[in-house]
């Protein structure tokens, strides 16, 4: 997302906000990993995902930005917190930590590497125009015309996950 910021003498406001939210997301992401309390880590994750949503909003992708908030902040992290509080996290100030630092480091470094490589390979040379707003109706049209097959495949995948969850829950 940097090309716009470095190009030309005038730095545009959207670029400034993208930089701010990006910094917030990066700092919170580090806090997620370094936090000794698993609930604090989950709450930092809320900030990371919220900042990512804010970046989408600044870039003019209103629908994607609010989807990010609704799905990730409103549903996924809530389920994560719900699971933590129901099972692992005792109330109070006990350290909720895990001793598998080495494995965790290798995993996160690998994920970081793979994602950076993929994003760099596919979007590295692209210029992002910050002042174009994507209308929701356009997203709907392209979703139900050009991308109808991937869309349906994803729905079938979700259905499979749903059936799996029910099978797991039925076991008792």
């Amino acid at each position: 997302m940097d090309p716009q910021a470095t190009e030309g003498a005038v730095v545009s406001w959207p670029a400034v906000f993208v930089a701010i939210f990006g910094a917030v997301a990066a700092i919170s992401a580090v806090a997620v990993v370094l936090s000794r309390n698993v609930v604090h880590a989950a709450l930092s994750l809320v900030v990371v995902l919220g900042a990512a949503g804010a970046i989408f909003l600044v870039l003019g992708a209103e629908f994607v930005g609010w989807t990010q908030i609704l799905i990730y902040v409103g549903a996924i992290v809530v389920l994560l917190l719900f699971g933590l509080m129901l099972t692992a996290a005792p109330i109070g100030k006990h350290a909720l930590d895990n001793q598998q630092r080495g494995v965790a480091f290798i995993t996160s470094a690998a994920v970081f590497g793979v994602f950076t490589f993929i994003i760099w390979r596919s979007f590295g040379s692209q210029r992002i125009h910050l002042n174009q707003v994507v209308r929701t109706s356009d997203i709907g049209r392209s979703l139900f015309s050009g991308y109808i097959l991937p869309f349906e495949v994803v729905s079938v995948l979700l259905l499979a996950a749903l059936v799996g969850a029910i099978v797991l829950a039925k076991k008792d």
Partner: protein, 341 residues
């Protein structure tokens, strides 16, 4: 001329709108709280507050507010201090943001805003994704609830928060499904656009089932009786709010009453014809909107006085086994009607 210059400056208009929305956000819940005090009391053959402000206790809520501000702000010893103090704000900020997009009237005919005609009217902001924004932003409150319950270091708080989260997740789905069917019927996500689409008839008439689902799900989202399992006072004291005192507890209460107003307003815009009136067309749109919001809020209070609390398993069963399937069938029917007619 000065007025003209003032209103042609978008920042000035923005500041003015923000101030108006904020004042409405602070006063409407106070008024509703008083109506609940008195209405509930009369429904139970009591008088309710009679002393504060002399005339039928009209200043009771103001006195309550002053009391909340004066009281000591206690944080329990074992609590996770930062999260405990942050939680009420995480709950109230999304509720206040919903007020930003409630449209009270139609778009003005003449408009000097840079975006052109149709950009100004009785609302804070007209987002392209209006209703989606409302649903996304109100989902954040759950996190505040979980934070409050966990950080209190009290088992009753934690049980309340977990019940609350389970309830909010379960009822989020019928709420979203009911709202998306309206968006399909109107052909737009913008709240102003949905209001405009009801010029011929209110959306409540073709699909009364959807309206009922929306109201039930809203009640559950607000944890209002009969869906007040998360704060069931006879079992778990006051749920996630047990350890809170003073202004932070006040913020939780304010968010509950502001939530009643905002969800009533959204239901009015989605189903009850927004600013479109009947019989007496000379009454201006914003008055109609306010009157309908008031009527729906009163219904919420009335339901509290009427129905007993649902048990936890009944509550989950109602969402997953009844509301969600009905809402899905409803979407299917809406789709068929949209394509056929």
């Amino acid at each position: 001329m000065i007025f003209y210059h003032f209103f042609s400056n978008p920042w000035a208009v923005f500041a003015l709108k923000l101030a108006a929305v904020f004042i409405f956000f602070l006063t409407a819940p106070l008024f509703l709280g008083y109506v609940e005090h008195k209405g509930l009391a009369h429904m139970q053959s009591r008088l309710g507050p009679m002393e504060a402000g002399k005339f039928h206790g009209w200043a009771q809520l103001i006195a309550d507010g002053v009391k909340f501000i004066q009281k000591e702000d206690i944080v329990p010893d074992a609590a996770d201090r930062r999260i405990f103090m942050l939680a009420p704000m995480i709950v109230i900020i999304p509720v206040s943001l919903v007020f930003l997009v409630i449209p009270f009237g139609p778009a003005a005919v003449s408009c000097h805003a840079p975006a052109g005609a149709g950009a100004c009217g009785f609302w804070g902001e007209n987002f392209d994704v209006g209703i989606f924004f409302v649903l996304a932003i109100s989902a954040i409150s759950v996190i505040g609830m979980l934070m409050a319950g966990w950080a209190s270091a009290n088992k009753f708080s934690l049980i309340g928060a977990i019940r609350g989260a389970a309830q909010l997740i379960a009822y989020e789905l019928p709420l979203v499904l009911a709202a998306s069917a309206v968006a399909m019927q109107a052909g737009t996500l913008s709240l102003v656009g949905i209001g405009d689409a009801q010029k011929a008839y209110w959306f409540v008439f073709p699909q009364i089932a959807r309206f009922i689902i929306f109201v039930i799900a809203s009640l559950a989202e607000l944890s209002r009786p009969p869906f007040d399992m998360p704060i069931a006072d006879s079992e778990i004291i006051f749920g996630h709010m047990t350890e809170y005192t003073g202004i932070r507890f006040g913020l939780f209460l304010l968010s509950e009453y502001a939530g009643i107003v905002s969800l009533s307003a959204i239901a009015v815009v989605l189903y009850l014809g927004a600013w479109h009136g009947f019989f007496v067309p000379w009454i201006p749109g914003p008055i109609w909107t306010l009157a309908k919001i008031g009527a729906l809020s009163f219904l919420v209070i009335w339901l509290r006085a009427t129905y007993p609390r649902l048990r936890e398993d009944q509550l989950q069963k109602m969402a997953w086994k009844y509301l969600i399937p009905i809402a899905l069938v409803n979407i299917l029917l809406t789709m068929i009607f949209k394509v056929v007619f």
